[in-house]
């Protein structure tokens, strides 16, 4: 059996096992719930371990897809079950499998319909891994949509007060984008001869000029793909579903949403938009960068005035994902590597921030910043860890956020895209703003006098919470100190994608001479 296939479907098999397990559960609801929790934790941990084997087998000196499995699936259409892993996807898969056990730990206090909750979590994991490993457009689309359903239920059933509104908004926004992408997928399929959905093959055909798509059609197709992914990212002005979804989702839902689901958008841009439509991507780059910069600054400004901690973190995601898009459309090695790195860093830091907010919410059932103050006295461990996480999110050197943002700014400044220098300068402003909103929040929540009586008695983190938080903090530090370990894994593929867009370096020089 192929390792990637195993990793992808292990959670699904786990979900089926969980379903069978529940058929025999007796009257003791509490024991049964614990069984579901431990079983799910075990499944996600095993999945993580298997994914580490993938990492060990992965050859970072090779830019092409590896550990590939390709079997015919729907013969009449030329659809294959084709999965594999390359520099773009390897770390995102690891991020997914790594965050899942943490998300399960974060949902330990869920008491409503535990079995169904865990089922949806596991189905979601299969969907997410599937998105990153698919090398067939059809398969990709399938997984892209499959992630919707469990998340929809997670928000809608286990969410906060306005969960119904948030769940529907999340679903409808995403479906609008993805269905238009479906039309684009069909169109590309036919322009490529109507025989295959294979991403690798189509990329090659387009790059070698074997498949020619008329210029104006390219623009439309690019837009269809970009819309689907920009909604998912979410890039300003498509971001409005995000704060709602985040605020209403349960803690684990927020961790997964911010940690992985948003990355499906930025990943899609790198996997489809850039290689399939190099010239349109080049033309669109200043616009995308512009929107990204607006998102960076707008997100940061809105985050600054949020009275709700979770909403603050949600808007900080809009800001941070703006950096990722900025880096992707810089078309430089540093910029795109930085973008990938920022995806991981954001997944770790923001996941940890949501976890932290969830921990305090469990105790006080409020997330309003004004309800807190001075809680570092009763909760020293929690405050320390939260502070580290916040610092990593705002880009303090030696922590993970710094590497990503720095590389992106560097790459954007050196970018061949028009006005890139201006965008880099403006984006740097976002770095400062993120320090403002995060530190201000820290100050108001953790330091100063204890203004509310209830806060004086707060219990510090328990073992389970520490167990969930510490791996994230450790990884934030490791990623900040030893970035090359991670960057090396994606280097070759990122360079390849860059060359897809702006050609090989020698070719670029020729173009300049022509002008």
């Amino acid at each position: 059996m192929n390792l990637i296939t195993i990793t992808t479907f292990l959670p699904l098999i786990g979900a089926i096992l969980l379903l069978l397990l529940s058929l025999r559960d007796s009257g003791d609801q509490k024991a049964a719930n614990n069984l579901y929790r431990y079983a799910t934790l075990a499944i996600t941990l095993v999945t993580f371990l298997v994914s580490l084997v993938i990492l060990a087998r992965y050859d970072s000196s090779n830019a092409a897809a590896q550990l590939v499995q390709k079997n015919p699936w729907i013969g009449s259409l030329g659809v294959y079950y084709h999965v594999g892993i390359d520099g773009l996807s390897i770390w995102l898969v690891i991020l997914t499998t790594f965050l899942m056990p943490i998300a399960v730990l974060a949902s330990w206090h869920v008491t409503k319909r535990v079995r169904e909750y865990m089922l949806f979590m596991l189905i979601l994991e299969t969907g997410m891994i599937g998105v990153f490993v698919s090398l067939d457009m059809f398969l990709f689309y399938l997984f892209f949509e499959i992630t919707l359903i469990p998340m929809y239920f997670l928000i809608g059933v286990w969410g906060g007060e306005r969960r119904i509104y948030a769940a529907i908004k999340f679903f409808v926004y995403t479906v609008v984008g993805s269905l238009l992408m479906l039309v684009a997928i069909i169109a590309i399929y036919f322009y490529n001869g109507g025989t295959t959905f294979d991403i690798v093959e189509i990329t090659n055909n387009i790059q070698t000029g074997k498949t020619l798509i008329p210029g104006n059609v390219q623009v439309w197709l690019w837009l269809a793909f970009a819309l689907a992914f920009c909604i998912k990212v979410p890039l300003f002005p498509f971001h409005t579903w995000l704060p709602d979804a985040h605020v209403e989702a349960p803690t684990a839902g927020s961790i997964i949403l911010a940690g992985v689901l948003l990355k499906m958008g930025t990943y899609g841009l790198m996997r489809f938009n850039l290689p399939f439509f190099p010239s349109v991507s080049q033309k669109a780059a200043p616009w995308m960068m512009g929107l990204a910069v607006i998102g960076i600054i707008y997100g940061a400004l809105v985050a600054m005035v949020q009275p709700d901690m979770k909403k603050l973190v949600a808007y900080s995601s809009v800001s941070h994902l703006g950096f990722v898009v900025l880096g992707i459309f810089a078309f430089t090695d540093q910029g795109m590597q930085g973008a990938l790195y920022q995806m991981l860093a954001h997944g770790i830091s923001t996941g940890a921030l949501f976890l932290g907010v969830g921990i305090i919410y469990d105790r006080r059932h409020t997330r309003q910043i004004a309800d807190f103050g001075g809680i570092s006295t009763p909760m020293p461990q929690y405050s320390t860890l939260f502070l580290i996480v916040a610092l990593s999110s705002l880009g303090l050197p030696l922590l993970n956020g710094f590497i990503g943002e720095f590389l992106i700014l560097l790459g954007t400044f050196a970018s061949p895209v028009p006005h890139a220098k201006m965008f880099a300068v403006l984006a740097a402003l976002g770095v400062i703003l993120s320090a403002v909103y995060l530190l201000w929040m820290i100050q108001r929540v953790f330091f100063g006098e204890i203004t509310k009586k209830e806060n004086a008695e707060l219990k510090d983190m328990d073992g389970r919470e520490v167990l969930a938080m510490v791996p994230l903090v450790v990884l934030a530090i490791v990623m900040g100190v030893k970035p090359m370990t991670f960057l090396r894994g994606s280097e070759k593929t990122v360079t390849l994608v860059k060359e897809y867009v702006i050609g090989k370096p020698a070719k670029v020089a020729e173009n300049h001479q022509d002008k």
Partner: protein, 499 residues
């Protein structure tokens, strides 16, 4: 000598014969047995339907051909559509048993009606002549009128039945008038001969042919409930017993689509200047009807709070999607779409029937509040059917829409706007299909909810629909290729001239 030229072949009408004979047997059993022959009748019905299914598969090996002087044809379209019709009939029979007991309705006639309707629909799917088209259509229609009013004491059901009857007769009149004009123009009622006459330019009055085709289009449009001929649908669907709604929303449409394919995609798909003109006109008309049907069905469905009514409008929209596949005259995507639609639709109506209780009391969305985790099996099944109707993968609804969109995008380059319209409609439809799910799972439990009892037969029918919906969504290959192999009607003629 005359007899041989008729080309009698009783194997070619075996499915219809089996079903009709069984219907007569049931009427006799019902007349001679004491009260409560429900189980026996259900058993006879099931056995005869399964036998008919086997007979249909037997046709497949017989190969193409036309029998009874061209009245009956055997081709992949007939085989595939007949299988779909029989699957629906089997599922409805399984569901009917519990419905009849719960509502204490006389069981005998119901099963006989199902069988007669099935016989008519099978005949319709196998019609190679305008006369048999009409014959099949009438047998199927009249029985469904009666079924719609089967709950006699219920005024809504009677209203539904009467409305269905009046408007259905109206539509039949259109169709018949159209047929007579086509006959006037081409001097034949045989579809192959019509095709030849058009191709060879032997048409007396081309205008007559055009008008005839237009009237037939209206007639078929009525029967498949496409806009702007859809107005009867919501009232009829809402008033009829839920399980009958499930039946008439699917099987008759499948049968009419088969006849529609035979007449338009094959008969009116001829060469020659007149043929290509006719083809161009009807394809354009169908494209416009498809766009209208999808859009109207979906937009009106958005505002429905009654689940049955919502599904009625959604079934209008689905006829529109199937028509999108029709513009290329390719039978495979349309057939696959209708099979999938039938499965998920019957499945959804089955759950609704169970939740509605006797007399269809609980069919408002508010009645579904919070029941999600009270009856997880039923409500998750309904959720899967609804996701499938909305076209969300990995359900069959997605796969079938994909085939339709792909076929239309490829086969009709001038009509690609239609695919875009269809996609936008799919987006709209997501909203209202999600609504029952929202209500079931995300809202607090409504008072007065009683867990419905599910009989074994009902469970089997539901499981069939569910497995089909998921199986065809994940592994559509085998079924798709079984119809795709030779299911394309006049491929060479169908492709519109590319630019």
């Amino acid at each position: 000598m005359q007899l041989t030229s008729l080309n009698l072949n009783y194997a070619a009408i075996a499915p219809e014969s089996i079903v009709s004979v069984a219907a007569v047997v049931i009427m006799l059993v019902d007349a001679f047995s004491k009260k409560g022959a429900r189980k026996i009748n259900a058993g006879i019905t099931l056995v005869s339907l399964v036998l008919a299914l086997i007979a249909v598969f037997g046709l497949n090996s017989a190969g193409r051909g036309s029998y009874f002087s061209g009245m009956i044809v055997v081709d992949p379209i007939r085989v595939f559509f007949s299988v779909t019709i029989l699957i629906v009939s089997i599922a409805v029979t399984l569901l009917a048993s519990q419905f009849l007991r719960d509502e204490a309705l006389p069981p005998g006639e119901f099963f006989a009606l199902i069988l007669f309707a099935t016989a008519g629909m099978l005949l319709l799917a196998g019609a190679g002549d305008l006369v048999t088209v009409f014959l099949g259509l009438e047998i199927a229609s009249i029985t469904t009128y009666v079924m719609a009013g089967y709950r006699r004491y219920d005024t809504r059901a009677s209203e539904s039945s009467l409305k269905y009857f009046l408007l259905g007769s109206f539509a039949t009149a259109f169709l018949l008038y159209g047929m007579s004009l086509v006959y006037g123009a081409t001097a034949t009622t045989n579809l192959t001969a019509i095709n030849q006459a058009i191709a060879e330019g032997k048409v007396q009055f081309p205008a007559l042919l055009m008008i005839g085709a237009a009237l037939m289009l209206v007639g078929f449009g009525f029967k498949i409930a496409s806009a702007p001929f859809h107005l009867w649908t919501p009232d009829v669907y809402e008033g009829a017993p839920t399980i009958v709604t499930g039946f008439m929303g699917t099987a008759p449409k499948v049968a009419v689509f088969a006849a529609f394919l035979h007449t338009f995609a094959e008969g009116f798909n001829a060469g020659g200047p007149l043929g290509s003109q006719l083809h161009h006109v009807w394809v354009t008309a169908v494209a416009i009807i498809a766009a209208l049907t999808m859009t109207i069905g979906n937009i009106v469905a958005l505002s429905q709070k009654n689940i049955k009514r919502m599904l009625a409008y959604s079934s209008i929209a689905h006829a529109g999607y199937a028509l999108v596949g029709f513009v290329t005259s390719e039978a495979a995507p349309v057939g696959f779409y209708l099979l999938v639609y039938s499965l998920m639709s019957v499945g959804a109506f089955a759950v609704i029937q169970l939740l509605a209780r006797a007399g269809d009391q609980k069919v408002e969305a508010a009645d579904y509040a919070g029941i999600g985790f009270q009856t997880p099996a039923l409500s998750f099944s309904l959720a899967i059917f609804l996701f499938s109707l909305a076209g969300i993968p990995p359900t069959a609804g997605f796969m079938s829409k994909f085939f339709i969109f792909k076929s239309a995008w490829d086969g009709a380059p001038t009509l690609r706007w239609l695919v875009v319209v269809a996609v936008i409609n799919s987006i709209i439809s997501v909203y209202y299909y999600l609504y029952p799910i929202v209500v079931m799972f995300f809202r607090p439990l409504a008072p007065g909810f009683v867990k419905p009892r599910v009989s074994t037969m009902t469970a089997v029918a539901l499981a069939l629909a569910l497995i089909g919906t998921l199986y065809l969504g994940i592994l559509p290959n085998r079924v798709m290729s079984s119809i795709g192999r030779s299911g394309t009607a006049n491929t060479a003629l169908v492709q519109p001239a590319s630019k």
